[in-house]
Symmetry: C2
Subunit: 390 residues, 2 copies
C-alpha cells in the first residue's frame, strides 16, 4: 500500500517536472489570479514578470493556444485533459486575449469580457506600478448611468453612458462642465467605464482635490472610417487626410443629438468654455476633425494615441488657435519609440510648435506602454486635472 | 466551361442537400440572427419554431456541440472546417447556452454574454409573442445607474444598479417608492437590468400609465445557501426550512447598509408603505425570509419561482398578515405542471388560502415557460402595476 502511494507521488513529481520544463524553465512561480477573473476562478493568472498563465479543460483537443499581443503560445495537456501554459512577459495594464482550441478562436471561459477588436472577448490585467490611481477605494463615488435616447439624426435609439461626479445628486442647484470622451476603433461606449476605469480615475482625482468635478459622456462613435494610408518611404502623402466627410456622421450625431440631449437632461454648464472633447486612437482622430471644425463648441481638447494638430491645421482653422484653451496630446512610449508614421508628422514637434505659437498645449508620454488601455488610463489621469481651469 | 460551372452547381446542391438532411429534414428554413448577437454577427440564428442554429470555425476539431437547455446537439463540419447545427425548438424568451469544442466548454464567440449558472456565458433570445412589453421603444426612458458603495457590515466595497424612472432628474422635489429586486442563484446584480430588461419593462409600463414610477435597486444577494431537501415520497419533512440563519448575511447587508444608503442618496419615500421587496428563485426565497421577519420594513412582497407563504408562516408571523399590503406569487407554467416539490407545499393553494384569510394576494402563472427569465420578465410586468397603490 505504502509503495503504491510512493509510486503515485514519484509519477506526479515527474509529470509536474516535465510540464514546467516544457513551458519554460525560467518562469517565476509566483502566479496570482488575475483581478478581472470571473468570480471564483483561479485562472487566468499573472506572475511578477507579467506573464499570463491560462488553463482550460479540453480532453479531446489536439492543440490549444493562448493568443495575446499578437503572439500564440502552445499550452501543454496533462493526464486529465487539462491544458496549461503561459505567455512571455506583458506590459503593465490591460490586454485583450483569446484561446484557440483545435482551430476555434474562443473567449477564455474564466475571464471577464470586454468589447474591443470588434468583439466581446477576454481581458487580462497586468498589475501596474501606478495602479492606485484607478483602484476602487472607499472614497465618494460618482455614478455611471446607462441612458437610452432617440436620435433624430439617425432615426434610431442609441445608448450612452454618463458619469456624474460625487455630489451631483446632493447639490441640486450646482451645474457642471462636460467632457465628451470617445473610445477607439473596434471598441464601443462601454470601453471607458469598463476597462478604461474612467469613473474610478475621476473619483480618486476628485477625492484628492486634483480635478474639478465634471460630467463625462461616453457614446458610441463607431462610424464607417477608411484606413489611413501608411506614410512609407517613397509613398505619396495624401493632400488631405482623413478624406473630407468621414467624421461627419458622428459629428452630426454629437452636435445635433447628443450635446443638446445632455444639456437638457443634466445640469451642465452649457457654454464652450465648459465643454471638452477627447478620445483615444480613432476617437482621437474624430476629436481632431470635430474640434478643428467647431472651436465655438469645444474649448478643451484631448487626443490620446490619435494624432496631433499641426501648424497647417491652425492656418486652415485660425479660430481653433484663438478659442481653444487647452490642447492635450499623448502617446504610449512604445508608440513614440517605434512610431507608426502617420499623416500628421511628429506629434511631439507639432505640439511644441503650437506652444511656441502661443497655445496652451501639453504633451504626455505614458512610460513603457503601447497602443493600449494603460496609455489611455494614464492620459485621462494627466488630462483631467488640466480641464476647466481657465 | 459551361459544363464545369454546371458540375460545380450540382456538387454545391448535393452538399447543401446532404447537410440539411444530416441536421434534420423537418427544420423550417427561416432562421434570422438572434437579437443578442455581437455587432455584425450573423450567427447564432433562431427560426420560427424556436430552434437555435449556431456556427463556429474549428478546422482541426473532431467534435463540436451546442449545449442548450441541458441537451447537447452535434454540429456538422463543412469542407472549410466550419461547424453548423441546430437545437430542438426552445421556449419563448431568454436561454443561457454554451459550445463544446473537443471537450472544452466555451462561450459562443458570436453571442453577447450574460451572468448566470455562476459564469459569464452565451445567451440567446427566442422571439416571444408578447415581447413588446420589454422592447426598446421611443418612449421616455429612465436610467440604470451603476453605483459603488462601502458596506460597513461587510467592510468591503459593493456594487449595485439603481433604476431611476423617467422624470427623476427633471422633478427635483418629487420623492419615489422603492422596489428591492433580487436575482437568482448563480446570477448577480446585472441580471435584472440586462437579460431581465427591468428598465425597459418599467419605461414601457410608465409610458402607458400602467405603473406608478418607482426606483428599483438591484444588488448582489449571493450568499452561502444550503440546498433545500427534496420533498420526496416518504422523506421526512424538515421541521424548519430554510435552516435558521441562512439569509441573515444578505438580510443584514440589505437592512443595515443598502436601504439606509439608498434612502440617503436618492429621493425615496422612506416609509414601509412605499418599500417593496421581490426576487426570483433564490431571490424569492430570500424575499420570503427577509419580509416575514421584517413586515415593519416592507409592505409589498413578490416571489417569482421562489416559494410561497403558508398559513403556518402567518401563524408564526402575525404581523406579516396585518402589515403587508400586497403579496404576489408567480411561477412558469412548466414549473407548475411538473412541480418540483418544495418544502412549502402547493404555492397556488397557499396563496388562495391567504386570500381567503383576508390578505391582498395575487397568483400569476407565465404561460408555457419554465424556471427561466421569460417567466420573471412577465412576473415583473404583472407585479409592477399592483405596487404602491394602497
Amino acid at each position: 500500500m505504502m509503495s503504491k502511494i510512493l509510486n503515485v507521488i514519484v509519477i506526479l513529481l515527474m509529470v509536474s517536472g516535465l510540464c514546467s520544463a516544457q513551458s519554460s524553465s525560467e518562469v517565476v512561480e509566483d502566479f496570482k489570479p488575475s483581478s478581472v477573473n470571473q468570480p471564483g476562478k483561479e485562472y487566468p493568472m499573472v506572475n511578477s514578470e507579467g506573464r499570463v498563465r491560462v488553463q482550460i479543460s479540453a480532453p479531446e483537443a489536439e492543440k490549444v493556444q493562448l493568443d495575446i499581443s499578437a503572439v500564440k503560445y502552445d499550452l501543454v495537456k496533462d493526464e486529465n485533459g487539462v491544458w496549461t501554459g503561459e505567455s512571455a512577459p506583458q506590459d503593465e495594464g490591460f490586454h485583450y486575449y483569446q484561446l484557440w482550441v483545435d482551430g476555434a478562436a474562443v473567449p477564455d471561459p474564466n475571464s471577464l469580457y470586454f468589447y474591443g477588436a470588434s468583439r466581446w472577448g477576454s481581458g487580462i490585467e497586468i498589475p501596474a506600478h501606478d495602479q492606485e490611481f484607478y483602484a476602487l477605494k472607499n472614497v465618494p463615488h460618482g455614478e455611471v448611468r446607462e441612458l437610452q435616447y432617440f436620435s433624430e439624426s439617425n432615426k434610431t435609439m442609441r445608448r450612452c453612458f454618463v458619469y456624474t461626479p460625487p455630489g451631483y445628486d446632493e447639490n441640486p442647484e450646482k451645474r457642471y462642465p462636460v467632457l465628451y470622451l470617445q473610445h477607439g476603433g473596434g471598441e464601443n461606449e462601454t470601453g471607458w467605464s469598463s476597462q478604461g476605469h474612467a469613473g474610478l480615475i475621476m473619483d480618486n482625482l476628485i477625492a484628492e482635490g486634483k480635478s474639478v468635478p465634471f460630467i463625462i459622456v461616453m457614446d458610441n462613435g463607431t462610424w464607417a472610417m477608411p484606413r489611413p494610408p501608411r506614410n512609407r518611404e517613397g509613398a505619396e502623402r495624401p493632400a488631405q487626410w482623413p478624406p473630407q466627410g468621414w467624421a461627419d456622421g458622428f459629428m452630426n450625431t454629437l452636435l445635433k443629438d447628443i450635446i443638446p440631449m445632455i444639456d437638457s437632461k443634466y445640469r451642465t454648464l452649457a457654454d464652450p468654455g465648459n465643454r471638452a472633447m477627447a478620445g483615444l486612437s480613432m476617437g482621437g482622430m474624430q476629436t481632431r476633425v470635430i474640434t478643428l471644425a467647431n472651436p465655438d463648441v469645444f474649448s478643451n481638447v484631448g487626443m490620446f494615441s490619435g494624432g496631433s494638430i499641426t501648424m497647417e491645421d491652425i492656418e486652415q482653422h485660425p479660430d481653433f488657435k484663438e478659442k481653444v484653451k487647452l490642447l492635450f496630446i499623448s502617446y504610449g512610449s512604445r508608440e513614440i519609440e517605434n512610431p507608426r508614421p502617420g499623416p500628421w508628422g511628429n506629434p511631439k514637434e507639432n505640439t511644441e510648435a503650437l506652444k511656441k505659437a502661443g497655445m496652451n498645449t501639453h504633451f504626455y508620454v505614458s512610460p513603457e506602454t503601447a497602443h493600449e488601455w494603460q496609455t489611455w488610463r494614464r492620459s485621462l489621469y494627466q488630462f483631467a486635472p488640466l480641464l476647466f481651469k481657465n
